[in-house]
């Protein structure tokens, strides 16, 4: 790479000049600022901003960085936060931190990289993983694992394989190279995501309590160190309007349209940062993500004592033609910023050198209350940092319930609209049809591209369980309930492992906030999630909002992806899907109602989306979790019921194990069809030695949960289901037939 400085004569817009030339026309509108926002900047500064200041404000006050449309709603997560001692660091930091006992803490967060993944699926997804990992690292934690929640367009659409293969290779390529096991996620196909695929990546990390680090620059005289990759012209499309004015005839080099990740650099960054933490050399730290140096400097300064001086000309560049405005806004990946006491600087530089990471002191903490940025000898930014980082505009955008929602909700999947299977054979065919559908088939094509074994020794005895879930169709039927159902599913997923759910992170993917109907969906989803978290006692510790996921006037389904983190005080007591033995009893815990709206059966068999989604019952979810946790020594395996209901859960148990199941519904009130395909909440199938059945069922009764003895685990290869209309028999090979081939078929 060419790093020889080319001397380009620049016309620098200094603070001094800004003071004396109030009437210069500035391209604030091209930078996405509204007239009143530009005026506010002038009011704050008491003069016009310099072009560098304009660059900083415009990017920091963007939707992406300032959450200006969502902020008023997100406040509910704080206002309705349940009382819990577990939360060590809450919303507002890079990621929330949760106490898991014995002096250990865990931090986790999910973030979106949706639009970049549509433009360039591999790099978009890869840099998404890179970004969330740096967030976790910036909290002081060692990143332990990643997860990914993915949504693609229709399985049969021509563009879908391009996006899926690129995204999966990108998530895998980046995460595998960092040595972070991928511990799960989701992959959902639906035509509503056609031009707007969703790539949400989660990272979880662990640390000792005393190692928690915050993003703040305090201590006058402390040094500001930028380390990691050199700064290039990535992600600065917007500011080119500023750059173009400031170049002479030679003009700037072309700016990249896509950011490329360098996972090897990130791995070095992780190791070198962890070594600095271990030696207690870091006073404050921040990753560089969206808005790059603009964000890192203004946030560090405003969370600290306020004063910071930065010499922008010291930033190591990949492209010598970058203007100061561009350097401030560059989103080049794999960079971090640390605040270091002068006594420790030599050691920090040594560690970076050992890991072959470029590190540069670019500034220091001052006792002034301003963030001051210099370009050589010129002062080009002189701002109160809070006004950039925290005091951005806040909009209370208008919203209203969509007029079409009543019609959609009354379009229930009745027996007239969605005829039910009439015979046992018919039901058998529909089980196979569901198993072979895009959203329920085997994900091995995808998961086998992710390393899941590295770092086997991270167990500290304690274990953590994380699940990421959402069903966008439920959100489309009722966003309030949809958000709670996502929470409910993730909570249940964690609970069936025997873990105690502790905390929540979320990624809210929606259409345009400027559409009042979309804004209503957003507001409802947030309200639902906040209410649900309060009731479950699991606080939201952080998350991400992704808006404008829409093509023309068509928005994606409201897709609030929810991540729940749980803890096991001893991993050896965890429950898996694999521990059952022949002759074990199979018990269904939880109540089944006739609930098909938004479910897989209506979607796959009838292509129907209408009605009201399954009823939320968070009290029952809590009870289910406590019964499973308290009886985990008796439970040999467990599987939660979610997409596709009991039919899919039973099939998966047979598919993923070397035993069969023989069940019937004699012990239940509902008909076989409802039992098999309903998606009622708060249910799980557990297996246990026959002598423990009574203990488990008594425990269920004690907390008011119905339970039913379904049958037994058998030593053969069959799923056999006895119904009033005859016996449904499915061999493992028959179950696997469509299930194991669908994903590869979609990809070909």
């Amino acid at each position: 790479m060419n790093t020889t400085p080319i001397s380009v004569r620049r016309d620098i817009d200094t603070v001094e000049r800004a003071g004396s030339t109030p009437d210069v026309q500035q391209p604030w509108a091209d930078l996405g600022l509204k007239p009143d926002e530009y005026q506010r900047i002038r009011d704050i500064l008491g003069r016009r901003p310099t072009s560098a200041e304009l660059a900083m404000y415009s990017v920091m006050w963007s939707e992406h960085c300032s959450y200006k449309s969502s902020k008023v709603h997100l406040r509910q997560f704080g206002a309705k936060q349940p009382q819990t001692d577990a939360m060590l660091v809450g919303i507002g930091e890079n990621a929330g931190v949760v106490d898991i006992g014995d002096g250990w803490a865990v931090t986790f967060k999910v973030e979106s990289h949706n639009h970049p993944s549509f433009v360039e699926p591999y790099q978009g997804a890869a840099t998404g993983v890179g970004g969330i990992v740096r967030d976790i690292l910036a909290m002081g934690a060692r990143p332990l694992a990643v997860m990914d929640s993915l949504r693609f367009g229709a399985p049969e659409h021509l563009d879908t394989p391009r996006i899926v293969s690129g995204v999966v290779a990108g998530v895998g390529g980046y995460g595998n190279c960092l040595g972070l096991p991928n511990i799960g996620g989701e992959a959902v196909f639906d035509s509503c995501y056609q031009g707007n695929p969703l790539v949400n990546a989660l990272c979880v990390g662990a640390m000792r309590h005393e190692d928690i680090h915050l993003a703040k620059a305090s201590g006058v005289g402390n040094l500001v160190v930028l380390y990691g990759a050199r700064t290039g012209g990535d992600g600065i499309g917007g500011v080119s309007v500023l750059a173009s004015e400031t170049f002479d005839a030679t003009g700037p080099a072309k700016r990249p349209s896509v950011q490329v990740g360098d996972p090897f650099m990130e791995k070095l960054l992780i190791e070198c940062t962890l070594q600095m933490f271990a030696e207690k050399l870091v006073e404050g730290i921040q990753d560089l993500g969206g808005a790059g140096l603009s964000c890192a400097t203004s946030e560090l300064a405003s969370n600290g004592d306020g004063g910071m001086r930065v010499h922008l000309d010291r930033v190591p560049l990949r492209d010598a033609t970058l203007s100061p405005e561009e350097i401030l806004m560059s989103e080049s990946q794999e960079r971090m910023m640390a605040v270091v006491h002068p006594d420790n600087i030599e050691r920090v530089m040594h560690i970076c050198q050992r890991w072959d990471v470029t590190a540069t002191v670019i500034g220091e903490v001052t006792n002034a209350s301003h963030l001051q940025v210099y370009w050589h000898d010129d002062l080009i930014v002189d701002v109160p940092p809070r006004t950039v980082a925290h005091d951005g505009p806040v909009y209370d955008r208008p919203f209203h319930r969509p007029a079409w929602l009543d019609a959609r909700q009354s379009d229930e999947p009745t027996t007239e609209r969605c005829p039910r299977p009439s015979t046992a054979e018919h039901m058998r065919q529909q089980i196979l049809e569901l198993l072979a559908s895009a959203n329920l088939c085997d994900r091995e094509w995808l998961t086998s591209q992710y390393d899941r074994y590295v770092l086997g020794n991270t167990t500290t005895g304690r274990g953590i369980a994380v699940s990421l879930d959402c069903n966008g169709r439920f959100g489309a039927l009722d966003p309030y309930v949809g958000a709670q159902l996502a929470l409910s599913e993730a909570y249940r997923n964690v609970a069936v492992s025997g873990a105690t759910p502790l905390a929540v992170t979320d990624c809210l993917n929606f259409g345009s906030p400027e559409d009042p109907e979309v804004m209503w969906q957003f507001a409802e989803a947030v309200r639902g999630l906040a209410d649900g978290c309060l009731e479950l006692g699991t606080p939201v510790t952080g998350g991400n909002v992704s808006l404008y996921n829409q093509t023309a006037t068509t928005a994606i389904h409201p897709t609030p992806v929810v991540g729940v983190l749980g803890v096991l005080d001893d991993v050896r007591t965890r429950i898996t899907m694999h521990g059952a033995k022949p002759a074990d009893a199979v018990i269904l815990i939880g109540a089944t109602q006739e609930e098909f709206a938004g479910g897989e059966w209506a979607h796959v068999v009838h292509g129907h989306l209408g009605g009201t989604p399954p009823q939320v019952n968070l009290v029952a979810e809590r009870s289910l979790a406590s019964v499973i946790r308290d009886h985990r020594h008796l439970i040999t395996s467990a599987h939660d019921l979610s997409d596709g209901g009991l039919a899919i859960a039973l099939s998966e148990l047979v598919l993923r194990n070397d035993y069969g199941l023989d069940v019937s519904f004699a012990d239940t009130d509902a008909d076989a069809f409802t039992m098999l395909f309903s998606e009622s909440v708060a249910r799980a199938v557990v297996t246990t030695a026959s002598e423990n059945v009574d203990a488990i069922r008594a425990a269920c009764e004690l907390v008011g949960l119905p339970s039913a003895l379904l049958g037994t685990v058998t030593a053969d290869d069959f799923l056999s289901i006895t119904t009033a209309d005859g016996v449904i028999t499915l061999s493992r090979a028959e179950l696997a037939e469509g299930w194991s081939r669908t994903f590869a078929r979609i990809m070909s």
Partner: protein, 81 residues
């Protein structure tokens, strides 16, 4: 028989971590003054018969759609004999 060689390189403004790694290694191993290394791909395509204009058109199109990702890469096509 015709042989066509397509070379694909990342656009100059796009970060090339592979090239950077090679640059570091070349320098460490004693090559002085390496100012830049870019790593790309080369495809050697052998065709039965001659490269008529129709096949040339198809190939040119596929070079830009399949062999290279025009969002981040440039490509060159040359006919060898």
């Amino acid at each position: 028989m015709a042989r066509i060689v397509v070379t694909v390189m990342l656009k100059p403004e796009i970060l090339d971590p592979q090239g950077a790694a090679v640059r570091g290694a070349l320098t460490r191993l004693g090559l002085s003054g390496v100012s830049d290394v870019r790593q790309g791909k080369q495809f050697v395509i052998d065709l039965d018969g001659a490269l008529d204009s129709e096949r040339e058109m198809v190939l040119t199109k596929l070079a830009g759609e399949l062999l290279a990702n025009p969002v981040i890469e440039d490509y060159q096509l040359r006919v060898e004999d």
